[in-house]
């Protein structure tokens, strides 16, 4: 499991201690890294002579951590947010010396596979990030703490879209943390060299008024040693599919959470357009590449080989760190039904079975507060869902010379609903192989989307 550090298991369950303190201290002392745990856990008595010299240079001890220290583990998937969280938690621990917080990073690729296994195995961390695809079934099963009941006084000042996304029967089961929005990253060096104005691009399956395709064509040069792609058409639900479907007036899921994209002509038409960008017009990286590596387009953009990259706030940090060319954020593409994008929130939930419930709730209260959420946005890592903390994010990027208002406009503008429903994660997974084959051009768009829809509906039925 690895989520619960040794000191917690020693200090938190005095009743479970079966070994004598001295024997335990001796065996702990044998393991070098746990010396601090021994010092902190009040088993110091028999060891003070031997370990006395290290007390002064142990920061945890010298900062006055008391004997009753509890470590709360917080699991997230985003390594760009990790430094901000760690700063936030050290500020928290200064104010609450008896609670320390460990951030556990589980990569996105295995995050959702581990979640149900940890629930079944009783190895869930105290607090963890959750998205809307992995919410309802856990809420129903009572895996998460009802935050509206547990922290009624701490639930104000969140971005409304995230609150709505995660409210069930009038209650919240998680503290809103981040809010994603979609816009278009533009490599302005490449765009101006090709004479392309990407500030308000329009796509249209009928061709009328379509400015995306000519722009993408002008920005694509294949055949050289280093191909340059125009646009990141790919199998990417959040950054591409949902927004194309939404801006064509299509639907991905019906109100009862069942999948309807295969039966919906507007959705099929939108995805046909995306597939044509890749396989017919060849203005996007090949599906073989983007199917095999979900970060392919992002990497091509940061390496300067992709001119237009429609993506989310979650890639702002990566682009700023990676791309050496000049770049800007433009509004997402407009379709026949207008500019419709997906906004998606992330909440921090508390494990209802945590043995450190009180401490975990204190940490959640901190994350819900403007002071606690400030650190998330302070270095531009992610857009906080706590509204009072959002200004720091805007200020940071303004300072960096990046105008991020297209993201804010997208979040405030017309949106298509992000994945939802009891087994949305499973439905999405079941549709994936078919949708990837559609993108690869090996399945006809209408047939493939129908098969994907049927697979998803069968999967959510259980």
């Amino acid at each position: 499991m690895g989520a619960v550090p040794l000191e917690t298991s020693v200090t938190n369950h005095p009743g479970r201690r079966t070994t004598s303190p001295t024997a335990l201290a001796a065996s702990l002392a044998a393991l070098q890294p746990t010396r601090r745990a021994v010092l902190r856990s009040g088993l110091l008595v028999g060891l003070s002579g031997a370990a006395g010299c290290s007390i002064a240079d142990d920061p945890a001890t010298s900062s006055g951590t008391s004997a009753a220290a509890t470590t709360v583990t917080v699991r997230i998937w985003d390594d760009t947010v990790q430094p901000g969280y760690e700063k936030s938690f050290s500020a928290f621990t200064q104010a609450n010396p008896d609670i320390s917080v460990a951030v556990e990073l589980v990569p996105w690729a295995s995050y959702w596979d581990r979640l149900p296994v940890d629930v079944a195995g009783g190895t869930l961390p105290d607090i963890l990030w959750i998205n809307s695809s992995n919410y309802d079934n856990y809420v129903e099963a009572g895996t998460f703490e009802n935050i509206s009941k547990a922290l009624p006084d701490a639930l104000a000042g969140f971005q409304q879209s995230v609150v709505q996304q995660f409210t069930r029967d009038g209650a919240l089961w998680g503290v809103p943390q981040l809010s994603d929005a979609i816009a278009l990253f533009v490599n302005t060096d490449l765009a101006s060299a090709a004479g392309v104005d990407a500030s308000d691009l329009v796509w249209n399956p009928a061709g009328t008024g379509d400015t995306l395709l000519p722009a993408a064509k002008a920005l694509t040069t294949l055949g050289g040693a280093r191909p340059q792609y125009g646009f990141n058409a790919a199998f990417d639900l959040q950054a591409i599919y949902y927004n194309f479907v939404g801006s064509n007036g299509g639907r991905w899921q019906a109100d009862d959470a069942s999948y309807v994209f295969g039966d919906d002509p507007k959705s099929v038409e939108a995805i046909q357009y995306v597939v044509d960008l890749i396989n017919r017009h060849k203005v996007a990286p090949s599906a073989a590449d983007t199917n095999a590596n979900g970060d392919f387009s992002r990497d091509q953009f940061t390496q300067g080989n992709l001119a237009l990259f429609q993506s989310g706030t979650y890639n702002l940090r990566n682009v700023a760190d990676g791309l050496t060319a000049k770049w800007a954020v433009a509004p997402a593409l407009t379709g026949p039904a207008g500019r419709v994008t997906v906004t998606n929130g992330i909440v921090a939930v508390a494990n209802a079975k945590s043995p450190r419930r009180e401490a975990a709730l204190e940490v959640l209260r901190w994350l819900a507060s403007p002071e606690g959420a400030l650190f998330i946005g302070a270095e531009g890592a992610a857009f906080p869902a706590v509204t009072a903390a959002q200004q720091t994010y805007l200020d940071y990027w303004k300072q960096q010379g990046v105008d991020v208002s297209p993201f804010l406009d997208a979040a405030a503008g017309e949106t298509i609903r992000a994945p939802f429903g009891r087994r949305a994660q499973i439905g999405g997974q079941a549709a994936q192989p078919f949708l990837r084959e559609v993108i690869a051009g090996r399945l006809a768009v209408a047939d493939g989307m129908r098969q994907a829809q049927d697979a998803a509906n069968t999967a959510i039925a259980g």
Binding site: D113, P116, V117, V119, A120, N137, Y138, E140, A141, T143, S286, A288, D289, N291, A292, N293, F296, R423, I426, Q429, A430, P433, F434, R436, E437, A440, R442, L443, A459, G462
Partner: protein, 295 residues
């Protein structure tokens, strides 16, 4: 006297049980209990998140009707058909070469076994780096883009190739031992009678290696039916289910679709298939293993 014999027998029985205990414990904890749990689980509905509920034979009915299960069975049989003949032939050929004790054959013996002792997941990952269509070493070296892992036609042969590469050393090792057990005089006598190298191989070596062949075929087929790590590391069952072998299907049912009951039912079916296959293969070879030539 009789009571003495009885107590002696009891003592012997106790000693026998004690000696058996460690392996019996291992078998119980790591084999019988998991099999019993899988059997029980195959009669439940369980998504890992909510408590399991009784499902009766629903899971078996569901997998019988599921085209994806049939497809994964076909894929597994195809995979086995690709792997076993090549792996066995190459293993035998390498053993024959190594048996000649040419200079450096000791080094080769060790080198051959290295892929087999390496973790299949690591082997799969390394080969994924080699075969990746856009960033892989092979396409970079040849300058030709071949969709080794991303084309449905090439992905299964690519995984089969890596499996063969991994197992050849293992097969060769057993054939080497088999070759060492063949009495030298048989070959010498045949040579005096004027038999050529091919004749000696077909009439003496190959028939006498039948017990070895039986062993490597049975274990090889079982391993091919259970292949998972290599598929997981190289293709994750893709593209479009082209490498979705039965073991990967079980994994996907359990940890992607969160249908533990159905996954367990599928493992029970796989167990039954494996037992049937092993028994019939052993029966087939038992009838054909000829020892009478060895006097």
């Amino acid at each position: 006297m009789s009571s003495g014999r009885t107590s002696q027998r009891t003592a012997r029985r106790t000693a026998g049980l004690l000696l058996l205990a460690p392996s019996l414990l291992g078998t119980t904890v790591f084999l019988l209990v998991p099999v019993a749990v899988a059997l029980w689980l195959s009669l439940q509905r369980w998504d890992l998140v909510s408590p399991p509920t009784w499902a009766g034979l629903d899971n078996y009915a569901a997998i019988a009707a599921d085209p994806a299960v049939r497809r994964s069975l076909v894929t597994t049989v195809l995979f086995t058909a690709l792997v076993i003949p090549v792996q066995t032939a190459l293993g035998l050929a390498s053993a024959l070469l190594l048996d000649r004790r040419l200079p450096g054959s000791a080094v080769f013996r060790v080198t051959f076994v290295v892929p087999w002792v390496s973790a299949p997941l690591v082997v799969g990952l390394v080969w994924r780096w080699v075969l990746d269509p856009s960033t892989g070493a092979l396409n970079a070296l040849t300058g030709v883009r071949v969709e080794w892992l991303t084309s449905p036609a090439l992905a299964l042969p690519a995984v089969a190739f890596v499996t063969v590469w991994t197992h050849v050393g293992y097969v060769a090792l057993f054939y080497l031992a088999g070759l060492a057990a063949i009495p030298q005089e048989l070959g010498d006598a045949a040579r005096i009678d004027g038999a050529g190298a091919w004749r000696r191989f077909w009439s003496i070596t190959l028939p006498l290696l039948r017990p070895t062949t039986s062993f490597v075929l049975v274990t090889g087929i079982i391993a091919s039916f259970q292949v998972f790590d290599t598929v997981y590391a190289m293709t994750r069952g893709g593209p479009g289910g082209a490498t979705q072998v039965i073991a990967y299907q079980i994994y996907a049912e359990a940890f992607t679709a969160l249908r533990m009951g159905r996954a367990a039912a599928l493992s029970v079916v796989l167990l039954v298939v494996m037992v049937a296959l092993t028994v019939s293969l052993r029966w087939w070879f038992a009838r054909r293993s000829t020892y009478e030539m060895v006097v």
